[in-house]
């Protein structure tokens, strides 16, 4: 089966990466997703698991009549699984140019921040190749670092992994 080239990571100039981000927490780290791609934030609801999918694809949910996939970000980023708490949320994001909706599970949602171009630095290269395509960069806000995510890469790359698993 031919898998066409993965969606290209967003052009990484500081100017294009500046803007409003929704920040959320996973473990001890804070991450950010572009607000434009955030459709909805909701509490955890019953997820229907789908067999033969990778570990981080938790299943599907019914979003007002639409069935959308849900991905656990802790699992995706290889963090140890955690108990769901009252603050655990699902952020519904729009990916693939708005054509697809997906939910991502996060420990807690924080706030919406305006990130200036000057505050953004490129993510250091950890030498593990594909991993860094998820990272748009690092933002220095007050005294903390927020990791800016290219949510398309996070979700869509899992799609390829899912295809590869089922094809095996």
């Amino acid at each position: 089966m031919s898998i066409s080239a993965t969606t290209e990571p967003a052009v990484k100039s500081s100017e294009s990466r500046a803007g409003k981000y929704l920040t959320f927490r996973l473990g001890r780290e804070e991450f950010g997703i572009r607000v434009m791609q955030v459709r909805e934030i909701m509490g955890l609801l019953e997820i229907t698991p789908v067999p033969h999918t990778p570990e981080h694809v938790k299943g599907v949910i019914n979003l007002r009549g639409k069935v959308i996939p849900v991905v656990c970000l802790r699992s995706k980023f290889s963090l140890s699984p955690a108990e769901y708490t009252a603050r655990t949320s699902i952020i519904v994001v729009q990916v693939d140019g708005g054509k697809m909706l997906a939910g991502v599970i996060v420990d807690a949602v924080s706030e919406v921040l305006n990130v200036a171009a000057a505050d953004i630095e490129d993510a250091p290269d950890f030498g593990s190749g594909a991993e860094t395509s998820y990272l748009l960069g690092m933002a220095k806000i007050k005294d903390s670092i927020k990791i800016l995510l290219d949510i398309d890469q996070v979700v869509m790359a899992s799609e390829l992994a899912a295809l590869q698993t089922s094809a095996a």
Binding site: P49, H52, T53, G65, M100, E159, S166
Partner: protein
């Protein structure tokens, strides 16, 4: 040009004469003498037009004047042509430049849809005419089709199409008034004209979709053929009586078809699909309210109202779904054209038998069914049906029969493709299968199993690969396409007598009648379509083979057992088969036993695709929203069982 002043006066005089003639002709019982005089005048003006260089007008005028004595309709038709020729002369049609989409995009898309409708009707009527060359009703319908397309093409500045349609229309007009008779050559030319227009419509569609501007294809060959036919026949006298008798009919027919057309509305399919989706959502939403235990318990009035609401939404949904249904006849008609072309090429004689053309299918299914059907018909014509000589030797009629039949049955729709040709040879199929290693020696296969071998990829027993079929890539694709529509294909065949393929499809791709089953805390939906029976097993009917595979004895047959919780990696309520429920289902033409914890109910559920992320998951066909708002996965039996078949 010095001729311009001449042509100006000639045009003017002609226009006046035409107007007067038109008035008289339209009156129906206008003064025949006056008409005769006007027509004679036209004859003279025709000569003047010719010398003024207005050949088009001259020709039309001359033809019209020759109608002297003919029925009114012929005169009116001739008048129309002359009027058009006059109009055209004032606005010369430019030599075909590359078509640019200057006209309104919406007008063009309407044109594409309308033209295709007309071309479809033209084709159907031409094939009818071929069988019944004296059926002038068909000629009139075909004529009107080309006439309308000509008008539309002219309006949208598509000169090549306009000219081609005009030429064929003129040809048909001569058939109408008896100047030319219907011959196989004529049929070919008319079909060639329709094909040319079809191709041009597609080209315009491409331009609309953003392709680079291209020139229209050359219609020189087509026009040459038309002119040949037109010149070949000069005498008309003997056919006049036929023309007169039937000339009265078309006017009435035209009025009748206009009336039916006004009862129909053309709707954008996108709007229709959206409506159907939204209605589906309403059904789910009201179902969620209705089944919300906390909300309704103790409120009898509320429950009654919700029941009422549920009945209404059910009706709305049925109506919305029915709007997507189209008669399968359109598919059959495509087949008619295909068979005609196939018989011409191969020299075999094949007749097409159609039953159930009004049977309605969801439009998406009709679209998806076209390819598989065409392929199976090609196969039948190519491999199934013998040459006329061979047939006579075998004691059969030299004319073979291919039958297409569509009917509803028990919640699904069946489409049969049968032929009275050679039939499938069990020996040949087995031999080929052994050669390919698909079958072990000593394996005992039923006839049905052997026939189903033709669905294996790369399988083909054709000695020669023709350009039509025989490359061995077809039947497995056909089966996959049918399965994608959640349908299945069955084969019946008798050596020497013929073969029958039966395609069974659900009525609609959007809704499924499902059995909701439970495994642990999960709910799954099994399409009723594949379910044979459900029961609670007795321990003594369960056997284990080789310590791993399980089988169950049911009424003398040993069926493989599959535990759904194993397939889907979920926790069941119990692993003890005697506490479970067994669903006997069908996959890949074979039956097997699916073990689940409990049977929850039977529901009609709206299918929701799971999205690109879950495409091609073995065992999961999609998702559906259950009455409590949760998502239930729809089980794909072939996928669940398939893992066993290849294990």
């Amino acid at each position: 040009m010095s001729k311009s002043s001449d042509s100006g006066t000639v045009r003017e005089t002609l226009s006046k004469a035409v107007d007067e003639l038109a008035t008289q002709a339209m009156l129906g019982d206008g003064d025949q003498q006056q008409i005769g005089a006007l027509l004679a005048q036209l004859g003279k003006l025709a000569a003047q037009a010719d010398s003024a260089g207005l050949h088009d007008i001259g020709l039309a005028a001359r033809e019209l004047s020759a109608e002297s004595g003919s029925a009114n309709d012929a005169v009116l038709a001739g008048l129309e042509r002359l009027q058009e020729a006059l109009q055209r002369s004032e606005k010369p049609v430019p030599a075909a430049p590359p078509t640019s989409i200057a006209a309104d995009r919406e007008l063009l898309s309407d044109f594409i849809v309308e033209s295709r409708d007309h071309l479809s009707s033209i084709e159907a009527n031409v094939l009818t005419l071929e069988q019944n060359p004296s059926q002038l009703d068909a000629v009139h319908t075909i004529f009107r089709g080309f006439h309308t397309i000509k008008g539309l093409a002219g309006f949208l500045e598509l000169p090549a199409m306009q000219q081609s349609a005009h030429e064929v229309e003129s040809l048909l007009d001569r058939v109408r008034n008896g100047t030319i008779t219907v011959t196989p050559a004529l049929i070919d030319v008319v079909l060639a004209g329709a094909d040319y227009l079809k191709a041009e419509v597609t080209r315009v569609e491409g331009l609309l979709g953003g392709a680079a501007p291209t020139e229209p294809a050359s219609n020189a060959a087509l026009l040459a053929k038309v002119h040949d036919l037109m010149e070949g026949k000069a005498a008309k006298a003997s056919e006049v009586s036929v023309a007169e008798v039937t000339a009265a009919a078309p006017a009435a027919e035209a009025r009748k078809s206009d009336a039916t057309e006004s009862r129909l509305v053309k709707v954008d399919t996108a709007k229709l699909d959206f409506l159907v989706d939204m209605v589906g959502e309403i059904v789910i939403a009201q179902s969620m309210i209705r089944h919300d235990g906390q909300l309704v318990s103790g409120h009898a009035k509320l429950q009654r109202n919700l029941a009422h609401l549920s009945r209404i939404t059910g009706e709305v949904q049925k109506t919305a779904m029915s709007m997507r249904m189209v008669p399968v006849g359109q598919l059959f008609q495509k087949s008619a054209r295909l068979i005609r072309d196939l018989t011409r090429k191969s020299g075999k004689k094949i007749e097409l038998d159609l039953v159930g053309e009004e049977t309605e299918l969801d439009r998406t299914i009709v679209d998806e069914l076209a390819d598989p059907m065409m392929h199976m018909i090609r196969n039948a014509a190519d491999h199934g049906i013998e040459s006329p000589e061979d047939r006579v030797k075998a004691g059969k009629s030299p004319v073979a029969r291919i039958g297409l039949k569509a009917y509803h049955q028990a919640g699904y729709i069946a489409v049969e493709i049968s032929d009275d040709g050679r039939g499938l040879s069990r020996e040949k199929l087995l031999a080929k299968a052994r050669e390919r290693g698909l079958v072990q020696d000593g394996a005992s296969l039923s006839d049905k199993d052997v026939f189903n071998l033709i669905f294996e990829p790369g399988f083909s027993t054709a000695e020669k690969v023709t350009d039509l079929s025989g490359r061995g890539v077809g039947m497995d694709v056909v089966r996959r396409q049918v399965q994608r529509m959640r349908g299945r294909v069955d084969i019946e065949s008798h050596l020497g007598r013929g073969t029958k393929f039966v395609i069974k499809l659900p009525l609609t791709l959007a809704i499924i009648d499902g059995l909701v089953v439970g495994v642990g805390e999960h709910r799954y939906i099994v399409p009723i379509f594949v379910v044979h029976e459900i029961f609670q097993p007795r321990p003594e009917t369960i056997f284990t083979v080789e310590g791993r595979k399980e089988m169950m004895l049911i009424r003398g047959s040993l069926l493989p057992v599959i535990r759904l919780y194993q397939r889907f990696n979920v926790q069941p309520r119990s692993t003890d088969l005697s506490e479970s429920v067994v669903v006997v289902a069908e996959a890949h033409g074979k039956r097997f036993c699916l073990v689940v914890d409990e049977l929850i109910g039977k529901h009609e559920v709206v299918i929701k695709t799971l999205g690109a992320m879950f495409k091609d998951l073995p065992g999961v066909a999609g998702g559906a929203i259950l009455g409590d708002g949760r998502v239930g996965l729809i089980v794909d039996m072939d996928g669940v069982f398939g893992e066993l078949a290849h294990a």
